[in-house]
Homo-oligomer: 224 residues x 4
C-alpha cells in the first residue's frame, strides 16, 4: 500500500463538471505538480474516470465509493478488486452523499483491505467517528454535513468536533488516523486542522470550483 505522510490532502472531485473526463486528468495533474513540493495529495475522481486518471498521474488516485460486494452476482456494485485493477490506491467509504449501512461499511473496509486499498471512512459526528474507528479503517474523516460545501471551515465552526473525534479514535483504535473535512479551503484551515490533532483534510468545492484551482491548492498548503 501507498504510505501517506501527514498532512494528507484528499481532493474529492464529486461529480463537478470542472473535473470529469479529460478535465479530471487536468485537475489531477495540477495536484501532481503541487504535490511535487513534497506533500501527499490524493485525488478522488468519479469512478468511471479512475482508470484514465491513474494511468496519467503518479499521485495516489482514490475512489469516491466502494461496496462490500465481492465477486459474484452483484450487478452495478463497485468492487475493491475492480478498483484496484483500475489503478485505485484507496477509497472513500460512507461519504454523507453516499451512505451505507453498518454491515456494508464493515464489509467494504474488509474487502478494500484485502485488495490493498487504503480506506477513508467518513463520519458525521463524534459518536459515529468512534463507531467507525472500531471498524479499523486506515482513516476516518469527520465531516459535519451541515458544513459541507458551506465555505465555513469545520476547524473554525466546530473545533471541538475535531478534537473530540481525535480523542475518541485514540481510545478505541489508536492506529486509525483522523482527517477532517467540510468547508476547508485555505491554508489557515489546514493549519488549524493539524493543530486540532487531525492528520489532514478531505475537501472538494474549495479547490475544484475555485477560479484557479492551482492557486487555491497552493494557498491551502502555504502554511505547512
Amino acid at each position: 500500500m501507498v504510505k501517506l505522510e501527514s498532512p494528507v490532502i484528499v481532493l474529492n472531485f464529486k461529480t463537478y463538471s470542472q473535473a470529469v473526463g479529460e478535465k479530471a486528468v487536468e485537475m489531477a495533474k495540477i495536484c501532481e505538480e503541487v504535490a511535487a513540493q513534497g506533500i501527499d495529495i490524493v485525488v478522488a475522481p468519479q469512478i468511471p474516470d479512475i482508470y484514465r486518471v491513474a494511468s496519467r498521474v503518479n499521485i495516489p488516485v482514490f475512489s469516491q465509493h466502494v461496496d462490500g460486494a465481492g465477486a459474484g452476482s452483484f450487478t452495478g456494485h463497485i468492487t475493491a478488486e475492480a478498483l484496484r485493477g483500475s489503478g485505485s490506491a484507496g477509497s472513500i467509504i460512507n461519504h454523507s452523499e453516499r451512505r451505507l449501512n453498518i454491515a456494508d461499511i464493515d464489509a467494504a473496509v474488509q474487502k478494500a483491505h484485502e485488495s490493498e486499498l487504503i480506506t477513508i471512512l467518513c463520519t458525521n459526528n463524534v459518536n459515529t467517528t468512534a463507531a467507525c474507528a472500531a471498524l479499523s479503517p486506515d482513516f476516518v474523516a469527520i465531516e459535519p454535513p451541515q458544513l459541507i460545501g458551506s465555505g465555513i471551515p469545520v476547524s473554525k465552526a466546530d473545533p471541538g468536533i475535531v478534537t473530540d473525534s481525535v480523542k475518541a479514535v485514540k481510545q478505541i483504535s489508536p492506529g486509525v488516523r483522523v482527517l477532517c473535512g467540510a468547508g476547508i479551503s485555505k491554508g489557515e484551515d489546514l493549519k488549524a486542522a493539524i493543530e486540532l490533532g487531525s492528520e489532514g483534510v478531505l475537501l472538494a468545492s474549495g479547490i475544484i470550483k475555485a477560479k484557479d484551482p492551482r492557486a487555491a491548492m497552493q494557498d491551502l498548503i502555504k502554511l505547512i
Copy 2:
C-alpha cells in the same frame, strides 16, 4: 425507563401470520403468563399492533424498528415520540431485515433515548458489535445473519462470536449489555447464551412458529 433484569428474553414477532392483530395480543398474553414466573420477557409485535398490544398486557412492548427522524416532514417514518405515545417501552434498531446507515442508527439511538425508549441495536459480527457499542445503546444483539431462522443456535454454531462480542463491548462501552440471537429456541440455547457472557436472547421463529408457543417459551426458560 423499564428495568430489565438478566436474563432478558426478547421475542420478535417479525411479520409472522401467527402473531398479527388480535393474534399478536394473544401471543403477548402467553408471554405475560410465562413472565409471571419471574423472568423479563419483552414482546416486539408489528408496529401497527403496538398500541393494541401495549394496552392489553403488562410486560414491556418494543418496536421492531425506529427511525432517526424527529418531528417534521418525514412521512412514513417511525418516530420515537410516536412509539412512546403508543405504549412502546423500547425498540429494536438495525435488525438485519431492516438495516440503517450509521448516521441514522446514531440518530435513532439518540431520539429513542430522548423519548425514554430502551434500545437494542442489532449487529452481524464482532466488528459491527464493537462499532455499535460506541453508539451507547442499552443493548447490542449479535445475530450472525446466516443463522437467523436456521434452528441452529448461535451459542452452539459460533460461541466465539458471542464471547468476542462481549469482550469487545466491555472494552469500548462497558455499560452496554449484550444479547445474542439467531437460531435460539431451547432452554439449552438460553443457558449457553448466558454462560457465554450475554445477558439474554433475541428470538423469533423458534417460539412464534412453534406448534405450542407457550410450551416452547416454557422450555426456553426451564434451565434458568
Copy 3:
C-alpha cells in the same frame, strides 16, 4: 373497501408534533366534524397512531406508508395485513419522503389490495405519474417535490403538471383517479385542483401547522 367521493381530501399528519398520539386523535376529530358537512376527508396519522385514531373516529384512516412484504421474516416492515387489522382503510405509497424501488411499489400495491386497502401512489412528475398509473393503484397523487411545504400551490405554480398527469393517467389506466398535492392549503387551491381535472388533494402543513386547523380545513372546502 370504503368508497371515496370526489373531491377527496387526504390529510397527511407526517411526523408533525401537532398531530401525534392523543393530538392525532384530536386532529382526526376535527376532520371528522368538518367531513360531516358531506365531504370525504381521509386522515393519515403516524403508523403507531393508526389503531388509536381508527378506534375513535368514523372517517377513513390511512397509513403514510406500506411495504410490499407479506408474512414472514421481515422485521420492521409495515405489512398491509397489520395495517388492515389496526383499522386502516388505505395507505399512501412512495411519498417523496419515503420512496420505494419500483418492484417494491408494485408489491405494496398488490398486497394492499389483497388486504382491501385503498392505495394512493405518490409521484413527482408526469413521467412517473404515467409509470405509476400502470401499476393500477386506486389513486396517484402528483406532488412536485420542490413545492411540498412551500405554501405555493401546485395548482398555481405548475397547473400543466396536473392536467398532463390527468391526461397521461387516462391514456394508460383510465380507472386510476388523480389527486394533486404540494403547497395546497386554501379553498382556491382545492377548487383549482378540481378544475384542472384532479379528484382531490393531498395536503399536510397547510392544515396541521395552521393556528386553527379547523378554520383552515373549513376554508379549504368553502368553494365546493
Copy 4:
C-alpha cells in the same frame, strides 16, 4: 447513438472474477470476434473497467448502472456524463441487484439520454414492465428474479411473462424495445426469446462462467 439491430445480445459481466480488469478486456474481445459474424453484442463490464474495455474493443460497451445525479455534490454517484466520457454507449438501469426508486429511475433515463446513452431498464414482472415502458427507455429487459442465474431460461419457464410484457409495452410506449433475461444461455433460448416477441436477451453467468465462453457465445447465436 449506436444503432442496435435485433437480435441484440447484452452480456452483463456482473462482478464475476472471470471478467474483471484485463480479463474484462479479454471477455470483450471474444464478444467482438463473435459479433464480427454480423450480430450486435453489447458488453457490460464493471464500471471501473469501462474505460479500459472501451478503448480496446469496437463493440458497444455499456455500464451496469447509472444514477440520476448530474453535476454537483454527489460523491460516489455514477453520472451519465462520466460514463459517456469513459466510452460507454449505454447503461443498464434498475437491475434487480441494483434497484432504484422510481423518481431516480426516471432521472437516470433522462440524464442518460441527454448524454446520448442507450438505456436498458430492467423489470421483474409484467406490471413493472408496463410502468417502466412509460418512462421511455430505449429497452426494457424483463427478468423474473427467481430465474436469474438459475440455468432455467425464462423463455421456457415462463413464456407468458415475455409475451405479456411485449404486449403491455406496445400498448403504452410502442417505441420501447423488449429484451428478456434470466436463465438464458443456449441457442434455443435466444431463438425462443425472439419468437416470443422480444428483440434480444440480457445474460450473464451462462456465458461468463462457461468453461469456454467463446463456444458458449457461438452456441447462443447458432440458430439465428
